[in-house]
Symmetry: D2
């Protein structure tokens, strides 16, 4: 009999780059009794989360909350803005950028994918999966599109498969420099509420996000943050849409309700998560993730293993991808670590399958839980017979000890 | 400050026809820590719920579980089976049948709606909203469609807006009698796991359902139960689909996984709900709801108020609609009851707005919670100055006392 | 296999006069991770509950919180104030008064019990178990004790076995009128936080209470509220004491700590309970219980069954005892009701065994849960073939409908 | 405002030697609704825990469960077996042995304390606080007591203040060798369910234990395991007793009930804990703690710091005491570690105040949580400027990697 409430050795360390470890406060909030989604209490809840989520996206405009997981929000962004056959320009930063492209193609859009242009670096996978979006390539391509056929530019903010956080403001500047009317649509599923993100200031038209990363919720709800231009575009876009249609949701959200049944208990969790983020302050939240990431990278560097992200300017604060030595099956290593130490790491996805693993540093983590993760990986590397240059645990300890986090709030 | 964990007077009675009151066992299960949806523990969970849910639909064929609320599963049924402009035949049994029709039209299908044919009964709303699907009208219409253009017949099993449970087997016989190849698609969002339902035996091609009714979960996940014929149809259907596409989900479900992030914590709740249903036995579950419904109808009859469902053969075991006297605003009554007694009742929807209210008898209920509901309504009727013929509370007490439930299992 | 998380029919109605139904807020608080009882967070918790509990006792003096259930607090009151062989004067108001007397005798005290003096009323049990403490008898007895040997007068505030709430201020006046130095020790285990109680204003020296009644916690912690005179007496009292000794606890409580391990998770629940009481205001709390009690008594009167408490001036706001007709085994009735309706009622204790049952109206209750209880009892009476004069449910409904509770706080 | 549900950095590491980190399964069980302690469900629960707890004590005789924390169970052992002025022989192994002695003296017993006889080792504190009970000293003393006045020999099994686990069977042999009728009373508050313990086989008359250590519960309930000889002794012992009296409890326990209100929700937790221990098997439980302890000691040895326990034969599997270098305030170190890393360590008690700290390895722990603790201590040592010989983290990692735990049960 499968027990849901116990792991093999007790506490499980969920250190994948999302779903992130969920704080107790949120799990508890989610277990409150479900209420009537048409009653007065729900309206108050709805208005509260709809207002709070705007602060997190740093937007003055509507954010649509779907009772569906993140992949649904990708689809929503496309079907609300595009018509059959519309060209969309994408940039291949990793596996999730590829998946979004495949979805767009499946929905009947004409997808064009830009890839990294630059020196190869002899490491596994396309070199583009180690770097951020090259905005200049986007600008050049848009300039060629003198007919302005391209409907949207779609990029991934924090590429969860690689640990690379692209410069979204630069993409906006590229579009503007090209004088092109394309919408800017950004996947920040794993970036939001961990890495700095400014929907309005960066001129994004649609930001797609999900609950199970920086918002620290379980998966199950997802988001489209909109711009006025995106809302305008949705009025004429002709891809069929009903469940995902923004119009009815935005209209009913004015009072805090939804046109159909929302995911009430995940909204309880969201209300709690928004409280936590507001109490800490977004700037502190971002700094906290940067500090964690630096500590984990110190460990990887000490091991002498390559970090998947080859450009320090775009290291992800959310996760760190680690490339295993030639001949080493990263998934066999992950399995060993899972079985011996009750520690889950992220797998290598797509082109990176078996060649790397991913360490998440988000959600309900702190110095000691991250050191536990690093220790688990280091023991696993040794047990697997993988030579390491030095101790990652020591490097991470040195980093955390030398760099205290923001002033901690005493609890009483 | 909105408190999520407390109502005005303490315990709230959620007696709408879904979301239903969620048993503690399920709320607790849902609050367990989220696990890796790509890890071995998840596969075991996935296989467990995918197997268990088939028992509830009484099917040997795949059941797709979406990380999206019920309206999404309506869309999924349509986009997987239909091509742009396909005619679909629907039957207007109430508000939800109408909403499904509007969705189909919005997705670009050609919808045709059959309505009740029979004597009017002078009560509010179209008389068709008081009775079940008339299968003979469907048979007649399909016989006219000699070109077999009609792609699907779409009906609602348990119409949540009215409290009418249609005879689905009769609809299948009608299609067969017409010798028509149309798919039979059924919404049993509020019927499944409360009212008898047999996906395979009744020859249904797609059954749509949700989590927040008979399955006793919060809203947030939903279902498509499939037939081989529906799966075959999905291979050539040309409405755009990606998130809802059956093919990838069914393929990955073989091992207990999903192509994208599932709603892990609601699946925990589903695992617990399936255990509860299996422990009790489906036949006992259905009998329990029938007994509850009879007790509540006894109360309504004692009050002398008309029941929305005019045909005793199709009374819903899940909810009972009650028509308020002319001139009485049912929503004002509901508001009074909510404020005074912390009791939520279902509103009149669409054509019935303000003319009726709905009493749910599903989820975590028992004789005493239902009597509490009946008492709350009776006090509200009196406070609102609505004349009643007799005591509904007494009638329900007499019913429950005279008809013991199935042998109760001692706990130890 | 015994399941702890499910009852035979779902929701169980725990309507005994304590342990009371525990609000979800408190159960959740109790399930938070245990902390170090010597760490800084604990000190803050300790100071918070020690301060808050004084408000509930309405005292400026120390309240000792024991990690032990209520019977322990009885013992604590005695061993801290008495020496072997000390005479203590008690008043037999019911079963719990008798048990406290037995404990005192077992601990080596010389107990003297005053009993009701007045007309007999032909109903079961000693007539004294239907009325409150007669302060004039206490005064007379103390006046006889010219040597001032009597160490303490011990009375029960709210006698849980009968539903009688004695006038404690009158007992203080009697002691003063006698000019006697005896300590006044009061058991308000089931009165505190439901019935008005004023430790300081009423001149009580030791008040004994527990967690599982008006404080709405599970059982497991208990209280001694002290007066300066009691503290002074404890310095010379010679009964052996260690675990119960006030001196070390009061000294360490100054900083929020305990000399030994406290019951941390029940203190979490206490912190939550104190918040709830403060949010509502004690006056509202007392009024709420009075209103509930009046509604339940209306039901009992309608049935035509005698209420155990024969003096309306001392009806308990916490519980109502109901005397069953001659020849009816009250416990067989209780068993029938438990089995058929998942409703627990209090048994007749001591002299009242089998002759009465007790209905609790405390804890996480509201109009509808109390009506559910009344309905369950009424069905049980009929099923047991007990003739009733009229409908208790109607009487209670009429009372609750005609007497709205205090203005309810909107939740948002 | 003090938040109970959040620590400064998120997850808190409670690594004191009890209360131990409580598994989620137990916290959840404890938050179930309270039931009637006189109802049929409670009887089933009572019988279940009373039976299960005997397995843990490895006894065929009654185990009394008190609704009081562990210090109460010390008192219970004494007041049930002794009469005023009875001599009791104790052995000073550490702070808790001293506290038990003080309690006995306060209760009016004549206490005699044996102390370590052997070479001093120049390290802080009496050398006896670094070693186990010396059974030969007990034997010699008992032989002198030819009048057999000594009523009981009281020893501590696992001395929580030092991390020393004495040989209880040797004490029994000593008493027998002396031909002395004294009762053997053992405090295994922090040993039970972590360190091997055999109440019957070792001839113990009363074993005292608590909930918040190896049983992994929060504090609040405690235990007396009895022998027939102890039960016999209680019939004539003359210290006053009521709450603690075995007779009434043992009598009522036969049916699964208590004479007064038990701590229902902690008994829920106990039921869950007993399930967990039975599922794993006691032998595996003991081996698990031994393996953890060896890993932690490897760390301390690598640091070059002395372990408080000077005799490897009696290293505690539950906790490890670490002596800080001369001039270093161990409590200042603990405070630094708490503030920087949200890690609680045990303080030095009594004679050891400020000279050592204690690392707990019990409760809901595993390799990675223990490595997190070790890492937190190691960072703290460095931040405090304390020189260490080598890396404790590495030593512990090497130990855990080289010594896999018992075969882990796959979850599905």
């Amino acid at each position: 009999m499968l027990r849901l409430d116990q792991h093999a050795t007790g506490h499980h360390f969920l250190q994948i780059p999302g779903p992130s470890p969920v704080p107790d406060r949120i799990l508890r909030a989610m277990s409150l009794p479900t209420i009537d989604h048409r009653g007065p209490e729900f309206g108050a809840l709805g208005r509260r989360v709809l207002s709070g989520i705007r602060e997190v996206f740093q937007t003055q405009h509507p954010v649509v909350i779907y009772p569906a997981s993140g992949t649904g929000a990708w689809e929503a962004a496309l079907v609300n803005t595009c018509s059959p056959g519309d060209p969309v320009l994408m940039f291949e930063t990793g596996h999730f950028a590829s998946l979004w492209q495949k979805m767009a193609a499946r929905l009947g859009l004409e997808t064009e994918v830009l890839s990294y242009q630059g020196a190869d670096d002899q490491l596994p996978a396309a070199p583009g999966w180690r770097r951020g979006v090259q905005a200049d390539l986007i600008e050049a391509r848009l300039k060629q599109d003198t007919a302005h056929r391209i409907r949207a530019v779609c990029v991934v903010h924090n590429e969860t498969s690689t640990g690379v956080t692209s410069d979204i403001a630069a993409v906006r500047r590229a579009i503007d420099a090209a004088g092109h009317p394309a919408l800017l649509m950004v996947d920040s599923i794993s970036g939001l509420a961990s890495a700095e993100y400014r929907h309005d200031a960066w001129g994004v038209d649609v930001t797609v996000s999900g609950s199970q990363k920086g918002l620290m919720l379980p998966p199950g709800i997802s988001f489209n943050a909109l711009s006025p231009k995106a809302l305008e575009a949705s009025k004429t876009a002709r891809l069929p849409k009903a469940f995902w249609a923004w119009d009815e949701i935005v209209a009913m959200n004015a009072d805090g309700y939804w046109p159909y049944t929302p995911s009430t208990n995940l909204l309880y969790g969201l209300a709690e998560a928004l409280d936590m983020l507001r109490e800490e302050g977004l700037a502190n939240v971002f700094a906290r993730h940067q500090r964690w990431a630096a500590g984990v990278r110190a460990a990887v560097n000490a091991w002498g293993l390559p970090i998947q992200c080859a450009d320090p300017a775009v290291y992800s604060p959310v996760l760190t991808g680690v490339i295993t030595p030639p001949g080493v099956d990263a998934d066999a290593l992950r399995k060993l670590i899972h079985q011996r130490f009750d520690l889950s790491l992220g797998t290598g996805l797509g082109k990176l399958k078996g060649r790397m693993f991913r360490m998440g540093h988000l959600g309900d983590s702190n110095d000691l839980t991250l050191l536990a993760m690093v220790a688990g990986v280091e023991m696993g590397l040794k047990l697997a017979g993988i030579a390491i240059a030095g101790s990652g645990v020591h490097a991470a300890m040195d980093h955390f000890a030398a760099h205290p986090g923001a002033a901690l709030t005493p609890l009483a």
